[in-house]
């Protein structure tokens, strides 16, 4: 077994040497057939994804049963450069499988295979999770790795020391923020620098404010274009966000701090000693950033999160699996990942959340368990506005936020973004 596992990992990590396991016991043949969908030992799947480092390690762990049983050889490639995927697809030699964002589903909808034809069932997923993956009536994307964004991280110890309580309504949150300011403490750490993607932390925050102030339907209307991005509701959300994100009393470093602090550094400012701020709104991955810097921290004592109170319809982001090929090995992969076993394996690997129903109850990491709780009890989800509107709205939205914080007039910033939104949606 040990030899086999090593062999297999060797395959994984790019060795071309063929060492596919051959042995299949007679009694498990039927099971193997069901799992492998006719894929032969040695069949290859080429994959392109944005994950690397630890993320790659976890994916390997999740896929191991499939590789073990069917002898499928996975040839993964990792990059965050969209030019690579785009060149391959446009040139007509795409990978068999890509894990990317919902934007790419839209972009490549004509080349993608339908998931139900590859052996996935919609019933395997929690309600609403696959909706963004249905484009023009075809289901072409499998949500594999999900994260909830509508949460706020804080330090229970610091809250206790200052006598603050976790807010349970949006009004309480606003009151808490004002109280902190009155106490001479900085409530938020908002840093959003992220190289070419600078601004996404801000757009996540804005969408959460919209969910609270206007509700999920309003957000969906922005996505379908019936509400323009310079509508009064959006403006109100920007004004609140601007009040918090541009003033050094409310956020670390004021507008300059928000714009030029890296999003990972911003997370750590809440946990430094003494703390620079008391709260940071960031997706679930923040837990990993915290434990890298502070390996001894205990979840629930030194760091914790709460769901933004009053947000109707959580903001959930998923990485999507899309298939450019329908060969048996790909079918085997799709049906494995959408099966209860696949969901369970995903949860056990602690690779964030899986919207697969099979994942429930299989999480082992404490902070993931709490996140999963919020995830499964949510009333509904709204996808990220910028990711979902095609044709460059995502970067236009970030530009609007960045320029607004950098001193541009709000009307101008929003009307430019609204122009891109209208153009993208053909309004």
């Amino acid at each position: 077994m040990k030899v086999k596992v090593f062999c297999l990992l060797a395959v994984f990590v790019f060795l071309l040497t063929a060492c596919a396991p051959k042995s299949t016991e007679p009694e498990v043949v039927a099971e193997v057939d069901a799992m492998c969908m006719g894929a032969a030992s040695g069949d290859e799947i080429s994959m392109l994804y944005q994950w690397s480092g630890q993320e790659e390690e976890r994916l390997n762990q999740i896929l191991r049963p499939l590789v073990d049983t069917c002898g499928i050889v996975i040839k993964p490639e990792s990059t965050r450069d969209q030019a690579v995927l785009d060149t391959r697809v446009t040139a007509g030699n795409p990978p068999d499988i890509a894990f990317w964002n919902v934007t790419q589903l839209n972009q490549y909808k004509d080349s993608l295979k339908a998931m139900d034809e590859l052996g996935a069932t919609k019933e395997a997923y929690i309600a609403g999770a696959i909706d963004p993956g249905v484009i023009d009536g075809r289901w072409i994307g499998l949500p594999v790795k999900s994260d909830i964004k509508t949460i706020i991280w804080y330090s229970p110890k610091n809250f206790e020391a200052a006598g603050y309580m976790v807010p349970t309504t949006w009004e309480e949150l606003e009151t808490l923020v004002e109280k902190m300011v009155a106490d001479g403490k900085v409530p938020w750490s908002m840093g959003m620098e992220s190289g070419d993607a600078t601004g996404w932390t801000g757009s996540d925050f804005l969408q959460d404010i919209l969910l609270v102030q206007q509700g999920p339907e309003y957000v969906m209307n922005i996505i379908n274009g019936s509400v323009a991005y310079d509508d009064a509701g959006v403006k109100a959300a920007y004004e609140l966000y601007g009040k918090w994100a541009a003033d050094p009393k409310y956020t670390v470093g004021g507008a300059e701090g928000t714009l030029s602090t890296n999003f990972n550094d911003a997370i750590l400012k809440v946990f430094s000693d003494p703390p620079e701020a008391y709260m940071v709104k960031q997706s679930g991955f923040a837990g990993g950033t915290i434990t890298t810097q502070y390996p001894d921290f205990v979840f629930g004592e030194d760091y914790d999160f709460f769901v933004i109170p009053g947000a109707k319809g959580l903001q959930g982001g998923s990485d999507w699996m899309m298939a450019f090929s329908d060969k048996p090995a790909v079918k085997a992969l799709v049906s494995y990942l959408s099966s209860p076993e696949g969901g369970a394996a995903w949860a056990k690997a602690s690779f964030d959340l899986s919207p697969n129903k099979g994942a429930a109850g299989n999480y082992t990491d404490v902070s993931l368990i709490k996140k999963a709780e919020a995830f499964y009890s949510a009333e509904g989800f709204t996808p990220d506005i910028g990711d979902t509107i095609p044709g460059g709205f995502g970067s236009a939205e970030w530009t609007a936020i960045v320029n607004f914080l950098n001193g541009e007039n709000l009307e101008d910033a929003l009307s430019k973004a609204a122009g891109v939104q209208a153009e993208a949606l053909g309004k």
């Binding site: 969209q82 190289g195 670390v252 300059e256 701090g257 030029s260 602090t261 620079e276």
Partner: protein, 320 residues
């Protein structure tokens, strides 16, 4: 060409030159010319490369027909409300920034490179000094991004891990957000580019300095010229062809470079340059029509430098 006398050596069989040129021409045709024409066509089409660009026009808005993508590329960033607003917005547009890049970075790299090459010429540890200046060239962009984080980092209050702000705050100043302050940020990025490319200019200029015949310099000195005059009136004119080569190369590099902007600001805070804008349109916004139109403009921008080089090419042949 035919009217000019050719040195005897240059007369040869009709096909001989093409044997020397063939490998290069074939490769360049296949890898650059053919794909370029293949792609230029897309600049007259819509974002998916399907319909004509003219279909992108909207009623009651300016429209250049089939050149619509070029209209977007050229005027999209300009604030057209008034002449002064247009002028102001031009200088923070990708075109204005590219012009700033060309002037600042090309002059910076060439002047520092030339002076440094001259200064270290013949000193004891010349090789080591040159290697240090050259070192940034050897760093990949991923590494350079991290390096400069520790220079420009804007620490909010507790600690400055960027060395510039650490110096500023140690002197009692307020920390500066180098990458977000419009105007200053482009200069901050140009500094990174200059840091990376000065070694390149220095290396080429240094080997050219060393080939200046000593006799000529000696003759000038005998005539009573001081060293500054020897440098500016004799050495510089002699190595002028190399200087022009270096300038041309640097202009082309600056026009093409987008990595620094892409890695450090992503074109935000009014730091966009033409090459980064092309990348954004092509791969972030998936608008191949606009992306290729910007690329074509980029290619056009090099025309004046082609002219300068042809003139020098002719002059060099006249002289020898």
């Amino acid at each position: 060409m035919a009217s000019r006398p050719v040195p005897k050596i240059m007369k040869q069989g009709k096909f001989a030159p093409w044997f020397y040129l063939a490998p290069a021409l074939i490769l360049m045709f296949f890898f650059i010319v053919y794909p370029m024409f293949n792609t230029i066509g897309l600049s007259f089409r819509d974002s998916n490369g399907e319909g004509s660009a003219a279909t992108l026009c909207k009623e009651e808005q300016a429209c250049w027909g089939v050149f619509e993508n070029y209209r977007y590329a050229l005027t999209g960033e300009i604030d057209k409300t008034s002449i002064s607003a247009a002028w102001k917005s031009f200088w923070i547009s990708s075109f204005g920034n590219t012009i700033k890049w060309i002037f600042l970075m090309v002059s910076g790299t060439v002047i520092i490179g030339l002076l440094f090459a001259k200064l270290v010429d013949g000193i004891k540890h010349e090789g080591l000094a040159k290697a240090i200046l050259f070192m940034p060239m050897a760093i990949s962009f991923v590494g350079a991004g991290v390096i400069w984080k520790f220079v420009y980092n804007y620490g909010t209050q507790r600690v400055q891990i960027g060395i510039l702000n650490a110096i500023i705050t140690a002197l009692g100043g307020e920390p500066v957000s180098f990458l977000t302050a419009t105007g200053l940020n482009t200069i901050a990025l140009v500094v990174v580019g200059t840091w990376m490319w000065t070694g390149f200019c220095m290396t080429i200029l240094s080997s050219s300095l060393k080939s200046v015949p000593e006799e000529i310099l000696e003759a000038a000195r005998v005539d009573g010229a001081n060293e500054w005059h020897v440098f500016t009136r004799i050495i510089i004119p002699i190595i002028m062809p190399t200087i022009i080569v270096v300038i041309t190369t640097m202009v082309i590099n600056v026009l093409k470079q987008f990595d620094i902007v892409y890695v450090m600001t992503g074109g935000n805070f009014h730091t966009d340059v033409i090459a980064n804008r092309m990348y954004t349109e092509m791969y972030i916004n998936y608008n191949t029509g606009r992306g290729t139109a910007i690329a074509v403009i980029l290619i056009m921008a090099v025309l004046p430098f082609i002219y300068i080089n042809i003139k020098r090419f002719m002059a060099q042949e006249e002289m020898r």
